[in-house]
C-alpha cells in the first residue's frame, strides 16, 4: 500500500512539474510603463498658458485666438493642415475618388455633407466651412480651442459651420438649448492636452446625437466607471483618449478609412516610441497568465482582443441601430413631428424617418485587417440586396486579419434608381429644396447631386444599407469577458464565420453518427449477452 501511495505522489509530482513548466507566466510588457505614465494629475508641462501676453489680448473671434496660438506654435498650423481632422479626406486614397466625409463617401446616417455643410461642420476643427469655397489653406481658420480648451465652456453652434454662437449667445431650435458665446480669453488661457471631453465633443455625438453612430463611443465615457471601460474608468486607470491614440505632431493614431491604425502589433518593449493604439502595444500578444491562459493566448493570432473583452457595446446609453429614411416626411396635422420611445430617444421623426435604438448590443463579427472599404456616391450598387456602404476587409488567410466585433448600423437609404448609386440629399438649409424644409426627395437629391457635381436621373428609391463600426472601446473588466461557450457552441456568436473548424461548434456528422452507432451497438450487444447469460444459466440449474 505504501508503494502505491508513493506512486500516486510520484505521478502527481511529475504531472505538477509538467503542468507548471507549461504555465510559465508571461508578463505584459508596456503595461507598467503605461501605468507609470498615468500616475498623478499634476502639471507636467513647462508652460502656464494663462501667463502668456499673447493670450491676454482682447479677442473677438476664433481666428484671432488661433493667430495668437500660432505666434508661439509656429509649426502647428502646417502640421494640423495635413491631418484628417482638418481635411476630412483619406490622405492615402486617390484624390480623384474623393474618399472621406469631406469628399463623396456616403454613410447611412445623414449620408454626406455636400450642400449640408453648416450643420455637419460644427464638428470640424475649423471656423466657417459653410460651403465648397472654404479655404483649407488658411491657418487662422483652424479651431485650436475645440480640442485644447479645458474650461468646458467652449461650444460650437450646431449649425454654425464650426463657429461658436456670436455674443451674447443663441438658442438652437433643433434641441432648444442655449449656446453662449465663448469668453475668449478665459478659454484660450485654459488650453492643455485634449481630454476625453475634448474628443468626445464630436466623437461621442457623431450623427447628430449622443451615441448615434459608434455604439462604443458616447457620453457615458466622459466619466466612466471601470465596469464600462477598464482603461478609461475613473475608478481604474482613468485614461484619456490620447493615452492610446498616441499623437505625434498633431497626427493622432487611429484607423483612417483604408489605413489601419497600426500595421504591426508591436509591444512597447519592442518599440517604445511607437503608438499605443493596439491592445498588444501594452499587453503584448501573450497577455493571459495561468495554465489556461496559455490556451487563451493561442487565440490571439486569429481573434482580436476586443472580440472577447467587449461583450456588448452601448452598455449604458442606447445607440442607433436602424434608420429608415424611406418613411420620413409623414406629418401630423400638416406638421412635422417627433415620436419618442424608450430611453426618450426618437423612434420617428418627420425629418429622418423611423429609427430603432438598442442598448447592450451583442456585436457582429467579421475578419478584419484594420481597413474598411467605403463606397462613395459614385459607386455603382446592386439594389437587389443590402448595400454594404462600408465593409470590414480581411480574411482567415491574411496573417494581419483577426476576428473583430462590429456594430452594424442598418437602414433604408435613398439611391438613384436609374444610375444605381447612393445619392446625396440636400437636407439642411433655409431654402425650399432642403429636405428638412420642403420634404421632397427629388428636389433635395437634385440639389445635393448638382452641388456635388454628380449626375442624377430624377428617380429616388430606397435601398437597405449596412454601415460597420469596429467595436474597440468599452473594454470590460476581465471577469466580464465573453465566456468560451458564447462562441464554442452551436448557434454561438461566431455562427456566421464558417471558414474554420471550431471545437464545440463543428463536427463531422459521419464521425459522430458512426461513433455513436458503434457505442450504441456495443451497449446493445452486451445487454443482449447479459440477458442471454441470465436466461441460460437459469435453465441450466434446473
Amino acid at each position: 500500500m505504501k508503494l502505491m501511495r508513493n506512486s500516486v505522489l510520484l505521478l502527481s509530482a511529475v504531472v505538477f512539474l509538467g503542468a507548471s513548466a507549461f504555465a510559465a507566466g508571461d508578463t505584459a510588457p508596456g503595461r507598467e510603463m503605461a501605468r507609470q505614465a498615468t500616475k498623478g494629475n499634476e502639471l507636467w508641462i513647462t508652460a502656464d498658458h494663462s501667463k502668456f501676453d499673447a493670450l491676454k489680448q482682447p479677442f473677438k473671434s476664433g481666428p484671432e485666438v488661433t493667430k495668437a496660438c500660432l505666434t508661439c506654435h509656429t509649426e502647428a498650423g502646417h502640421q494640423f493642415h495635413k491631418t484628417i481632422h482638418w481635411t476630412w479626406l483619406d490622405p492615402k486614397a486617390d484624390k480623384d475618388l474623393k474618399v472621406g466625409k469631406g469628399g463623396l463617401v456616403v454613410n447611412n446616417f445623414c449620408i454626406n455633407i455636400q450642400s449640408n455643410e453648416p450643420r455637419c461642420t460644427s464638428c470640424h476643427a475649423g471656423y466657417g466651412w459653410k460651403d465648397k469655397d472654404f479655404d483649407f489653406n488658411s491657418q487662422e481658420k483652424i479651431d485650436c480651442l475645440v480640442c485644447h480648451e479645458q474650461t468646458g465652456t467652449y461650444k460650437k453652434f450646431p449649425s454654425g459651420a464650426g463657429n461658436p454662437a456670436p455674443p451674447p449667445g443663441k438658442k438652437f431650435k433643433g434641441n432648444g438649448k442655449f449656446y453662449a458665446a465663448p469668453e475668449w480669453n478665459r478659454v484660450a488661457q485654459s488650453v492643455g492636452r485634449p481630454t476625453r471631453k475634448n474628443c468626445g465633443t464630436c466623437h461621442f455625438y457623431g450623427g447628430g446625437g449622443d451615441g448615434v453612430k459608434h455604439g462604443d463611443l458616447d457620453s457615458s465615457l466622459l466619466k466612466p466607471g471601470k465596469a464600462l471601460d477598464v482603461h478609461m474608468g475613473m475608478d481604474g486607470q482613468n485614461f484619456d483618449c490620447t493615452r492610446c491614440h498616441t499623437t505625434v505632431k498633431h497626427d493622432i493614431a487611429g484607423r483612417i478609412y483604408s489605413t489601419p491604425a497600426a500595421t504591426e502589433r508591436k509591444s512597447l518593449l519592442e518599440d517604445d516610441l511607437g503608438s499605443k493604439i493596439m491592445c498588444e502595444s501594452c499587453h503584448s500578444d501573450r497577455p493571459h497568465k495561468s495554465e489556461l491562459g496559455m490556451k487563451l493566448n493561442d487565440h490571439t493570432d486569429k481573434l482580436a482582443c476586443q472580440s472577447c473583452h467587449i461583450p456588448t457595446f452601448a452598455r449604458e446609453l442606447p445607440t442607433k441601430m436602424w434608420w429608415d429614411w424611406s418613411s420620413a416626411g409623414q406629418k401630423k396635422d400638416g406638421r412635422p413631428y417627433v415620436e419618442k420611445g424608450e430611453w426618450g430617444k426618437p423612434v420617428y421623426m418627420t425629418k429622418k424617418g423611423d429609427m430603432r435604438w438598442e442598448k447592450n448590443v451583442v456585436p457582429e463579427y467579421y475578419w478584419f485587417n484594420g481597413t474598411i472599404d467605403s463606397i462613395t456616391a459614385q459607386t455603382t450598387i446592386d439594389p437587389t440586396k443590402p448595400v454594404q456602404v462600408s465593409e470590414a476587409v480581411g480574411s482567415i488567410n491574411d496573417k494581419n486579419s483577426r476576428i473583430m466585433p462590429f456594430k452594424v448600423h442598418r437602414g433604408m437609404t435613398p439611391y438613384d434608381k436609374v444610375n444605381k448609386n447612393i445619392v446625396i440629399p440636400h437636407l439642411f438649409g433655409k431654402d425650399k429644396d432642403a429636405y428638412w424644409k420642403g420634404y421632397n426627395w427629388e428636389n433635395a437629391v437634385a440639389y445635393g447631386m448638382k452641388y456635388a457635381g454628380l449626375p442624377f436621373s430624377g428617380e429616388v428609391g430606397f435601398v437597405e444599407t449596412e454601415y460597420v463600426y469596429p467595436t474597440t472601446h468599452m473594454v470590460a473588466p476581465k471577469e466580464n469577458a465573453v465566456a468560451c461557450e458564447e462562441c464554442h457552441s452551436k448557434q454561438g456568436r461566431l455562427d456566421k464565420l464558417t471558414c474554420f473548424y471550431m471545437p464545440g461548434r463543428d463536427a463531422s456528422s459521419i464521425v459522430d453518427a458512426g461513433g455513436w452507432f458503434i457505442v450504441l451497438a456495443s451497449a446493445v450487444g452486451v445487454i443482449l449477452h447479459a440477458l442471454g447469460r441470465m436466461f441460460m444459466s437459469g435453465r441450466k440449474e434446473d
Binding site: L11, H488, Y501, R505, S508, V519, M536
Partner: protein
C-alpha cells in the same frame, strides 16, 4: 458455477493495478470533458472542461510513458504478443459456450494473464488506439505551433475528427470491457482481482506451453 477446486494466485502487481485504475479514471474523465468540449452536454462549463481535458491528457501521457517503461523492463509486454491459437475457441466460448456453462478454454495464469482474444484487443488498444489518441490530442493541443513545427499542412478538422473517432472507439471498448469483467466465476471476481491483485483460478489448470513467453 464450476465444480473445480479453486486456488488464489497473485496476478496483478501493485504498479499494474495502480496504472490500470489511474488510467481508468483518467480516460473516463477525459471522455466526459472531451464530450463536453465537443458540445454533447454541459457539465463543467467549456472553459473548465478544456482546462481539465488538457491537464488530464498530459497526465495520462506521463502515466503512459511509465506504463510502457514498466511493460518493457519487466518483460510484461510479452503478455501482449498476439496468437491465433485457441482464438477461435475463445470467441466461440463467448458466443455460445458461456451460455451453456462451459469452461473457459483458456484460464488465467501467472505467466499468461490474457487469453488470445484479450491479447489481440489489448495490443491493438495499447499499440494503436491509445497512441493515436495521444498523438492527435497533442496535435490538437499544440494547434497554434504547427507552423513552427513545420506541420502547417495539417487541418484542424481532420485532427479533431480522428481524435473524435478514437474517442468513440475507446468508449465502445469501455462498455464491452466493463461488461466482460462480469464474466468471471462470479460477477465481481475480475473487478475484485484488479483491486486486490489476487485472482481465483482452477487449482489443476496449468498454462500451456504456447501461452507462456519466457521473460
Amino acid at each position: 458455477m464450476s465444480e473445480h477446486k479453486m486456488k488464489k494466485i497473485y496476478l496483478y502487481s501493485k504498479f499494474e493495478r495502480f496504472w490500470h485504475w489511474t488510467q481508468a479514471i483518467l480516460i473516463i474523465m477525459l471522455m466526459l470533458t472531451g464530450l463536453e468540449v465537443h458540445g454533447v452536454f454541459t457539465m463543467f462549463g467549456f472553459e473548465k472542461a478544456v482546462d481539465l481535458h488538457n491537464t488530464l491528457g498530459i497526465s495520462w501521457l506521463i502515466l503512459f510513458v511509465f506504463i510502457i517503461f514498466w511493460l518493457l523492463t519487466t518483460g510484461e509486454w510479452k503478455q501482449y504478443i498476439p496468437t491465433t491459437k485457441k482464438l477461435l475457441e475463445v470467441a466461440k466460448y463467448y458466443a455460445s459456450g458461456i451460455f451453456k456453462g462451459e469452461e473457459h478454454p483458456v484460464q488465467k495464469s501467472k505467466d499468461a494473464k490474457h487469453n488470445p482474444l484479450q491479447r489481440l484487443v489489448y495490443l491493438k488498444l495499447s499499440a494503436i488506439l491509445l497512441p493515436l489518441q495521444m498523438v492527435t490530442g497533442l496535435l490538437y493541443w499544440t494547434y497554434n505551433d504547427w507552423p513552427k513545427y513545420g506541420l502547417d499542412f495539417l487541418s484542424l478538422s481532420v485532427v479533431a475528427n480522428i481524435h473524435m473517432a478514437c474517442a468513440y472507439a475507446l468508449l465502445a471498448f469501455l462498455v464491452v470491457h466493463i461488461y466482460m469483467t462480469t464474466t468471471g466465476h462470479t460477477i465481481t471476481a475480475h473487478i475484485a482481482a484488479m483491486f486486490s491483485g489476487w485472482e481465483e483460478v482452477p487449482e489443476d489448470y496449468k498454462a500451456e506451453e504456447w501461452e507462456v513467453h519466457e521473460k
